[in-house]
Amino acid sequence: MIKEILKNIISKTHVIPFPEGFRISPEEAAKGMNFQERIDKVFGRSLRIRQVDAGSCNACEWECTALTNPIYDIQRFGIDFVASPRHADALLVTGPISRQMELALKKTYLATPEPRLVIACGDCAIDGGIYKDSYAVTNGVANVIPVDCYIPGCPPTPVGIILGLQQLLDKLTGE
């Protein structure tokens, strides 16, 4: 354990190597360069997201969790997931909004301080996805609370979510 910590302190290079499988096109990378700059500008250096699962199959959540692993490490852009809607700038909602989660989602939305953004993440959150028109779902976030940005995919990959957040920034900065 101590060895592990020392190794991390001493070595200047990445202890965990960047995996080969991490594919991202040059344009995307170029766009990502000013990502942090723009977050600094729009959100005063930090974008705090509260993730709300409203009936998802849990794959969407795992991709959000993957964003915080050492490989994607989304915190380096100033983005982080927070524990309470009261600390959040944005809600990231996944799942087709099951009827039994509808009320909880509304309450979470009301608990988020304004101005609040809502991101619908995953095909289910967009229009119910594969669960569309089942008796127990409400066919997407927009039927329950207003949505600012959609991220498609089932589930969207971690890179897909980062790109989706860029889209949100584009919209906010009017680019």
Partner: protein, 522 residues
């Protein structure tokens, strides 16, 4: 078995499934007989609305007997207006949720069940909605009037613990972490949990009814989306059920690919879970390492199948892609992962502060695990050596050389070590699968689905035993699809495991079970 056969009014055999239909109180007696005298495990229990076929509802209770590959199904049929059946819960506690579910979804009343509350449906569903009945349909107007707090109302009563110094902590359904929704109500004295009552089914999406609507072929896609991290196990079990129903035999090659991918799914789950447990003890290094290895495996999944969650591979009759063409990539990635994983385990087991938190925390006794019908890692960590890959060999598991492990201590540490042993077992299964080549193409020709036929599909998912049961109607469309995810069996055990622990250890206990909400809630 003669005891039941003598009482049976109808019997049917299909592959390894033995159906025995009995009537009235014989139903309860037969179930109790097989459970007590034959030491059988209750695998699942479900109802069907077969009124379009012969005017009756049916209840199926599925048992398997250790050392016997067959499934024994005791069936009871009910004709209107008699909508009650004798509850078996007082004798077989593992049936408690199944019977409540049957009451919610079909309106069939288990007489003598100790808990009269609803299970699956919350207040947002008006009293008298029985979604799985064939003649139940929602109309637009009803939908508008629904919504939590609007419709009437069978208010849910939480159990109350009274006494000096006892206070309640309600948590959820929206939690602090990036996890699924569920409500937990702790009754504690100081820091010690006296009683925990979970209320789940917030993510209930009407999956079983939806299966009936979208047809068998589309059903594969839906089964992949029941529970994210067991996508492949779900679709493999579902496809197996439909294939067995139509009498379709898949090729050896397809079997090998399914077996391989099932093991890859187990690998990324188990390693990820071991890492996640570190988050419960605050060991950030272990958590990060687990996450990195998991990410490597997910990226391998993507290279093999195009999906990080192994979706889009299974189809009825076989698989879509040949993953053996990536043999070199598989071998080198698995080698690298094995090395990293061993380093991680060494790091974890050498960290005394971590191990001490795990030992004797969240103990689940063998007796309770047995009574509640716990499955998977949690069962094996509490001394029940039950693994579907051995108990009911399917795909290529009958040919592979491996041993399921079990431990008797039943604590969080045991659940971690069982995962560790199974990780190594999966690595060796993957390696031995890669040594051979397999005959046949990828997909077998689809056959017509015969009317009114049914079959089971099952597998051992990373979380435990998983079952699907499908039945076709007169046109070969789905009449009923029953799914039983392992988390459904294990959730009721969590309150017993956390009893007497401190509240801050709850996340750790919970992570050691790693249950799916979506799979359980259907």
């Amino acid at each position: 078995m003669d005891y039941i056969l003598r009482k049976a009014i109808k019997t049917k055999e299909n592959l390894n499934e033995i159906y025995m239909e009995v009537s009235g109180y014989d139903f309860r007696d037969s179930c109790v007989y097989i459970y007590e005298k034959k030491n059988a495990i209750l695998r699942l229990m479900f109802a069907t609305d077969e009124r379009p076929v012969d005017g009756s509802f049916r209840i199926y209770t599925v048992f398997s007997i250790p050392g016997d590959e067959r499934l024994f199904i005791i069936v009871l049929s009910l004709k209107e207006p008699d909508m009650t059946f004798p509850s078996i819960t007082p004798y077989i506690p593992a049936a408690h949720w199944y019977e409540r579910e049957i009451r919610d979804m079909f309106g069939l009343i288990p007489e003598g069940h100790p808990d009269p509350r609803r299970l699956v449906l919350h207040d947002s569903f008006p009293a008298g909605s029985y979604p799985l009945r064939k003649d139940w349909n929602v109309i637009e107007r009803d939908m508008k009037e629904w919504g939590e707090g609007k419709a009437v109302k069978e208010p849910y009563k939480f159990m109350e613990v009274e006494g000096e110094g006892i206070y309640e902590i309600p948590v959820g359904p929206v939690h602090a972490g990036i996890i699924e929704p569920g409500h937990f109500r702790f009754s504690a004295v100081g820091e010690t949990i006296i009683f925990l009552e979970p209320r789940l089914f917030y993510t209930h999406k009407g999956t079983e009814k939806h299966f009936e609507k979208i047809g068998f072929t589309e059903g594969v896609r839906l089964s992949e989306r029941v529970s994210g991290t067991s996508s492949f196990s779900h679709s493999a079990a579902y496809c197996m059920a439909v294939e067995r129903m139509t009498g379709l035999d898949i090729t050896e090659n397809a079997k090998a690919i399914r077996t391989l991918l099932l093991e890859l799914e187990r690998l990324y789950n188990h390693i990820g879970d071991i890492g996640n447990m570190c988050a419960g003890t605050g060991l950030a290094v272990g958590y990060a390492r687990g996450a990195v290895i998991k990410e490597h495996l997910m990226q391998l999944n993507e290279r093999l199948t195009g999906s990080r969650y192994l979706r889009g591979i299974n189809i009825i009759g076989g698989v879509r892609k040949d993953v053996f063409i990536h043999r070199d990539d598989l071998i080198s990635t698995i080698d690298a992962v094995t090395k990293e994983y061993k380093e991680m385990m060494k790091l974890l087991l050498d960290t005394i502060s971590h191990v001490e938190r795990l030992e004797n925390t969240g103990k689940l006794s063998n007796e309770i695990a047995r009574k509640l019908g716990v499955t998977g890692v949690a069962a094996r960590a509490s001394g029940i050596n039950d693994d579907m890959r051995k108990a009911h060999p399917h795909l290529l598991y009958g040919r592979l050389d491996f041993e399921p492990h079990s431990m008797s201590r039943g604590d969080v540490f045991a659940r971690m070590m069982i995962r560790a042993e199974e990780t190594e077992c999966s690595i060796s299964i993957v390696n031995s699968l890669l040594e051979n080549s397999y005959k046949g193409g990828l997909v077998a020709e689809m056959k017509e689905i015969p009317p009114y036929s049914s079959a089971f599909g099952y597998t051992e998912s990373p979380r435990g035993s998983m079952f699907y049961w499908v039945m076709s109607d007169e046109n070969g469309e789905p009449l009923r699809v029953k799914l039983r995810a392992p988390s459904y069996c294990n959730w009721p055990a969590v309150p017993f495991a956390v009893h007497g622990n401190i509240v801050p250890d709850f996340p750790l206990c919970n992570k050691s079970f790693n249950l799916s909400y979506s799979g359980c809630d259907m």
